[in-house]
């Protein structure tokens, strides 16, 4: 469904990704883990065209999307939950959701769906999003992305700054979203949890894929356990 071929990207003169190859199959949940600064966020930003690759191609559903604009990519069914959530703090929860579904014709049924996923958002619908707790903001960010009806959902550190219990709830929801047919590419620091809910994973190290394989394999790999799972 998504394939990155020889992606080179960076900021200004500083190269971050150096010939990265990555693939996500339809219906899969794929985890992308790695140390701080490895370039995980940069991968997601390249996919959703927030930055342009210097070389390489991004194929989505077999078509090259690396020349498209961000909004065109959203229209094709790719939605990005940015790192630190990027919610619109001065808009209400409801308005955030409306912007999320900007490319779609939303009906009340769409809102019902995300409210069922996260009931707390229904209670807070009229509250300005900046007043939500960190966990609620993450729920909002995920719901907002879902309203563009993505085929592929890119999640950048959904557990950032959340209490263990909330993290658990978020990961359960990600599993639920995936079981309803959405493909997920999940960037996480919390490698344990990410490997648990994903089928395959990539380990990124300074802009290159260090390991790739099924999540079970990686969980069993001694080197990875030491370097990324802190054992």
């Amino acid at each position: 469904m998504l394939r990155l071929e020889g992606i080179e990207a960076g900021y200004g003169r500083c190269a971050v990704l150096r010939g990265l190859n990555l693939e996500v199959g339809k219906g899969e949940t794929v985890a992308l883990v790695g140390a701080n600064g490895a370039g995980k966020t940069t991968v997601l930003r390249t996919i959703s065209a927030l930055i342009r690759p210097r070389a390489g191609r991004v194929l989505f559903d077999g078509k090259d999307i690396s020349h498209l604009k961000p909004h065109e990519i959203v229209c094709r069914g790719l939605s990005h939950v940015p790192e630190r959530r990027g919610i619109f703090a001065n808009l209400t929860v409801y308005e955030n959701l409306v912007v999320g579904g900007y490319t779609q014709r939303l009906t009340s049924k769409d809102f019902e769906e995300v409210y069922t996923l996260f009931p707390v958002l229904r209670e807070r619908a009229k509250q300005s999003a900046g007043t939500l707790s960190g966990g609620e903001q993450q729920m909002l960010a995920i719901s907002r992305a879902l309203l563009s009806r993505p085929k592929l959902l890119l999640l950048d550190e959904p557990s950032l700054g959340l209490a263990p219990l909330v993290t658990k709830k978020i990961f359960e929801t990600i599993q639920r979203i995936s079981s309803q047919g959405t493909t997920v590419l999940l960037v996480e620091q919390n490698a344990h949890a990410a490997l648990k809910i994903s089928q395959r994973a990539y380990v990124l190290e300074v802009g290159e894929v260090r390991f790739a394989g099924s999540s079970k394999e990686l969980q069993a790999n001694d080197e990875i356990r030491r370097a990324y799972l802190g054992e």
Partner: protein
């Protein structure tokens, strides 16, 4: 929604509009007989200021850009419409009240085009940098008019037919209100508001950031141009000095004072900034000190503007049923 209820809704709206226009007209007549012309002038100036503030609010308050050039767009509207009605009056038509209305509308359209041009650099610039570009642009416009003899140069234009009145100014102000109100409650409006909070996230949600920046500049300039046209045809006289930097600053003050992003705040700011200097006339030249002092005090007391991001009625919660 079913067809009959849609019809009923339309009828209701048409009735409200008709009643509103009738009331405006009635008040206009009363003002002409009853009220001291000086007060009428202040009231009309409030209306013009309200249109300016409502329109600037879209860029500065809602889209999160910073324009310091609103007087420039106002000047475009004023000069274009006044040229049509005074310098090259295309027959009798542009002298009539209807013709003046058409001329003012054309002025608004030309101002929108100017806004489109200024909107383009805003794609790359933000904050202070954008403010400087828009300021430079509005000064450029002013200097242009200063050097075109056909529009009077530094002497300005005299003898502009006086056809805008309380009625027309407040009709346009109401139109501006309804327009921006509906815009901000539509999907597009929310997309514009999203720009202010997080441009990157808005982009990731599929909002065409550049498109919306340029569109908000054009829409906002259109209404600034209309305010300019109304101003010209109310005063009967314009000169480049009427559209200098200090007027742009005053409009920014109205928006900031009222509360960024709040429509009722913009109107409130416009009224305060227009009426306050007038009511301070008893202090004679001291008012030039008192006016800024009052503004500073207000901002200290309510740093987010009088209303903040909210609308005025949100301060009076409806009693729970």
């Amino acid at each position: 929604m079913s067809a009959p209820s849609q019809n009923a809704g339309f009828l209701k709206q048409a009735t409200i509009t008709a009643v509103f226009i009738a009331v405006l007209w009635g008040v206009d007549q009363l003002l002409q007989i009853g009220l001291n012309p000086y007060y009428v002038r202040v009231v009309v100036n409030c209306g013009i200021a309200a249109i300016l503030a409502l329109s600037l609010n879209l860029i500065n308050g809602c889209a999160g850009q910073f324009s310091l050039g609103h007087a420039g767009f106002m000047a475009v509207g004023a000069y274009v419409s006044a040229t049509l009605t005074t310098v090259y009056p295309a027959g009798e038509f542009f002298q009539s009240p209807l013709g003046v209305g058409v001329a003012i509308t054309i002025g608004g359209i030309v101002a929108a085009l100017a806004g489109y041009l200024v909107g383009l650099p805003s794609l790359r610039l933000k904050g202070d940098y954008l403010a400087i570009v828009t300021l430079g642009f509005s000064e450029m416009i002013r200097v242009c008019f200063l050097n075109i003899p056909a529009v009077g140069g530094a002497r300005g234009m005299n003898g502009i037919p006086v056809h805008s009145s309380f009625f027309w100014v407040y009709l346009w102000a109401a139109l501006a209100w309804v327009f921006f109100w509906r815009l901000l409650r539509s999907g597009r409006g929310r997309a514009i508001l999203a720009l202010r909070d997080d441009e990157t996230a808005a982009e990731a949600m599929g909002v065409e950031v550049s498109h919306f920046k340029v569109v908000s500049f054009s829409l906002s300039s259109a209404f600034a141009g209309i305010a300019g046209g109304l101003f010209a045809h109310y005063q009967g006289f314009i000169d480049p000095q009427s559209f200098d930097f200090s007027r742009s600053v005053l409009v920014v003050i109205m928006v900031v004072l009222g509360g960024m992003g709040s429509l009722s705040g913009a109107v409130l700011g416009a009224v305060v900034v227009t009426v306050l200097p007038e009511s301070l006339r008893v202090f004679e030249s001291y008012r030039l000190i008192i006016f800024p002092l009052v503004l500073i005090l207000m901002m200290l007391l309510r740093p987010k503007g009088i209303l903040g991001h909210r609308e005025i009625w949100e301060f009076f919660p409806r009693r729970a049923k």
